[in-house]
Amino acid sequence: MRAILFLLPVALLLGGIFAWLFLRAVKSGQFDDLDDPPVRMLEDD
């Protein structure tokens, strides 16, 4: 059972990394415009 003392922070840390990645993506504007990328798909550059 003492493994929990170790596993709990690890689980939170892993989850936290994903949450942080998501927040960073939102802040960098990746979710601002969900309609545009399909229109741009065929551009060459």
Partner: protein
């Protein structure tokens, strides 16, 4: 074109430039650029634009940009801006018509950038709305969802510990971890609800955020107190509640933003300046300075700035914006033209009759804005939720008071929390969205994509269907109906380089029959009249030979005739019959002539039809039917259907139609045909049945469970276990929607 000299987005644009250049019309570009220091709309508006200054000193601004016609326009605008010295980053969105610019204030400024955009022929203007507010919501949702998942795991172990026994030290660790995780959710993620509740209180209104906020505060307060005293709180329920409600908010704000943008884009699509004739000279004035009675000059490729009557000149006007008919219409003195129409060729002098807010275009824009407001209409769940939660809170208060007097504070708190948790409107809040999502999915698999669940639910109440003709019941493109190969060969040779709709139809048919095209020389195309040239050693000409017919004449007179028509969609007849079997009255609305409408009506089996209708008349017809008690579904493809789509209870646009009609509609048909309408009606009906059944189930559950909790028969732990059970019942009910639709289809 300034520094962008050879940066063409595509062959088409390059060719267009070559044509303009070749025709000696470079002056046109010069004139457009000269519009830059326009007196009225352009000068000074940038003072009102909020410029954000970042930590690195760079300025950021969000602008609306009008006149972006294709993805290539976006490419061009973006690349020219990025190549401008001082610009760090430029992003232009096609879907929303917005530009985000980041620049170094030392090297350039906003007016210079705005002029740069204007020089490309696009019109920058301030956004009427603050920069997207749902970024904040999304951040809150992300945090809440992360916490919810972890807290759920912790809670599951804690509850399991009630039976299996748990080391008190671990139980305490889990409780404190839960509290640590839940605290930011209660304080930060749920802040929008508190703000909404406070704003409602200030305006003395029972906002639905108020009971929600009270519930959240109570749950968190109890959880905090319980953790401090070494008991279990119900923070997991609180976190889950916040997460689900935030998810709802995010989806809602997305839909609302798109509707608003469609309306503002149309309002901004009219030109800002006009060339007014003053005696012998022509001066460029802002549209606001025009008055009825003024004369304005309109050149090729320009949009009309006001409604009026042609006094001089001739040309072809493209009215696609207003009528949805893509074919240019020939105009001559005496004809009425409207603002927003594009002069395809020729030159006109127009006597102004209506300007600004009185033009057809602005009237349509107002209709669209009304449609945007409509998307703010609360859903059935929104209407129900405050009452439900208020009742729950009242019950909880009653339980607290009663048990406090009867058995003391601790029992009172436990009972109150049990009532709050067990009555958590999760099942009711979920019953509608889940069934709707299943209904939306069922409709989407049949080809109709709805923007909101509300539209799908409204579809149930619809009693009649109004179909636009061009592009909805018909393909929207001319096609050759009858022609012999010899005539077609010569006609196609003449039309080889034309892009006129009739030419396209003839060329497509010739290609289909694999007819090799002869080479025509000395080809002359007279807009609105026809085309002539030398073919097979003789002069041939192609002219109109009455409605829907073109005549080919050779040196010795008429050689042959080609009949063209707008083809009825293959599934139209079947779809109309199916709609009528579902008990819906089908009407055909069209701006076209009565005889064409009647022919199409006979072909698809529609008995009720109205021909010669303007966009306003279509909307007026819809409203008249609504006053008579009908609920109307309108399906159309052009912007001309915008007012009718907006007035309709449910507006459905063709995915191939004008972009703005797609944005203003409640739903979009993906692909060809109108059969998806039938599938959607079936899906909506199955969905409604599922929702009613779900609501009955969850009300029953809540009724029984709340009564039991109220009576002190349920402790909070049992309540927490019951909650997912009720949600499970609701999920199971929602899964039946697709099956029910298939059953209906098999039966039909």
């Amino acid at each position: 074109m300034e520094g962008a000299a050879d940066a063409f987005c595509c062959g088409g644009c390059e060719a267009a430039h070559a044509i303009i250049h070749g025709a000696g019309l470079d002056r046109w570009y010069a004139e457009r650029t000269a519009y830059a220091p326009r007196p009225e709309p352009l000068a000074g508006w940038w003072d009102a634009v909020p410029v954000e200054t970042g930590a690195d000193g760079a300025c950021t601004v969000h602008l609306a940009v009008d006149g972006l016609r294709c993805a290539s326009c976006v490419w061009l605008a973006e690349h020219v801006l990025q190549a401008t010295p001082g610009v760090r980053d430029a992003h232009v969105s096609y879907a929303t018509g917005r530009a985000t610019l980041r620049w170094d204030p030392a090297a350039t400024d906003l007016p210079a950038l705005a002029r740069r955009i204007a020089a490309l022929g696009y019109r920058p203007r301030p956004l009427t709305e603050a920069a997207s507010p749902d970024r904040g919501l999304l951040l809150r949702l992300g945090v809440a969802a992360f916490v919810a998942m972890n807290v759920m795991l912790l809670a599951a172990s804690v509850y399991a510990g009630w039976w299996g026994g748990m080391d008190p030290a671990f139980a305490a660790l889990f409780r404190w971890t839960t509290l640590a995780l839940a605290t930011p959710v209660a304080l930060w993620c749920a802040a929008p609800f508190y703000q909404g509740a406070l704003a409602g209180l200030r305006h003395r209104r029972l906002h639905m955020d108020l009971p929600v906020s009270l519930g959240l505060v109570l749950l968190y307060g109890h959880g905090l107190a319980a953790t401090l005293r070494g008991h279990d709180g119900y923070l997991d329920s609180m976190v889950m509640l916040v997460t689900l409600m935030l998810a709802g908010r995010v989806l809602e704000s997305r839909g609302r933003r798109r509707a608003l943008e469609a309306a503002t884009a149309l309002a901004g699509s009219a030109p800002r300046t006009a060339r007014r004739v003053a005696g012998d000279t022509v001066e460029t004035v802002p549209v606001a300075a025009l008055a009825p009675g003024d004369l304005i000059d309109v050149g090729p490729g320009e949009e009309l700035a006001a409604d009026g009557v042609v006094t001089q000149g001739a040309g072809q006007v493209r009215l696609a914006l207003l009528t949805g008919e893509s074919e240019p219409v020939a105009v001559e003195p005496g004809r009425r033209v409207v603002a927003g129409a594009l002069l395809a060729d020729g030159a006109l002098t127009v006597r102004v009759e209506a300007t600004g807010q009185d033009t057809m275009l602005q009237r349509m824009a107002r209709e669209l804005e009304r449609a945007a407001d409509r998307s703010l209409r609360p859903t059935a769940a929104d209407r129900l939720a405050p009452w439900f939660t208020a009742a729950t809170l009242a019950l909880a208060a009653l339980a607290f008071g009663g048990w406090y007097l009867a058995a003391g504070l601790d029992t009172a708190i436990m009972t109150t929390v049990a009532v709050l948790v067990v009555a958590c409107p999760c099942a009711i809040a979920l019953s509608q969205p889940l069934a709707s999502a299943a209904g939306l999915g069922a409709a989407a698999r049949r080809g109709l994509l709805f923007r909101s669940t509300d539209a799908l639910l409204t579809l149930n109440d619809v009693t009649e269907v109004a179909l636009d003709k061009t592009g909805t019941v018909t393909e929207g493109e001319l096609a050759v109906v009858r022609a012999d190969d010899a005539t077609l060969r010569l006609a196609a040779g003449l039309e080889r380089h034309s892009s006129h709709p009739i030419a396209r139809a003839i060329l497509a048919e010739a290609r289909r029959r694999s007819i090799p095209l002869p080479r025509a020389t000395d080809v002359r195309e007279t807009p609105g009249r026809g085309v002539e040239g030398i073919l097979d050693g003789g002069r041939h000409a192609l002219r109109s030979g009455g409605p829907g017919v073109v005549e080919l004449t050779g040196p010795a007179g008429v050689v042959g005739r080609i009949e063209l028509a707008d083809q009825v969609r293959a599934d139209a007849r079947h779809a109309v019959a199916a709609l009528e079997r579902l008990g819906l009255r089908v009407t055909l609305l069209t701006g076209d002539r009565a005889e064409v409408a009647e022919r199409i009506g006979r072909e698809v089996g529609v008995r009720s039809l109205h021909a010669g209708m303007t966009p306003d008349a279509k909307a007026a017809w819809v409203r008249a039917r609504q006053r008579a008690g009908a609920r109307v579904l309108v399906a159309g493809d052009g912007l001309n259907d915008g007012p009718a789509l907006a007035a309709a209870d449910v507006g459905v646009a063709m995915g191939t139609g004008a972009a703005s009609s797609v944005l203003v509609a409640d739903g979009v048909i993906a692909g060809d045909g109108i059969m998806p309408l039938v599938g959607a009606v079936r899906a909506a009906r199955a969905c409604e049945r599922a929702i009613l059944a779900n609501q009955r189930r969850s009300l029953l559950y809540n009724g029984v469970a709340v009564t039991a909790a109220f009576a002190g028969l349920i402790n909070p732990l049992v309540a927490v276990c019951l909650m997912p059970l009720s949600s499970g019942i609701v999920i199971w009910g929602a899964l039946g929607v697709e099956r029910a639709v298939r059953r209906d289809e098999a039966a039909a």
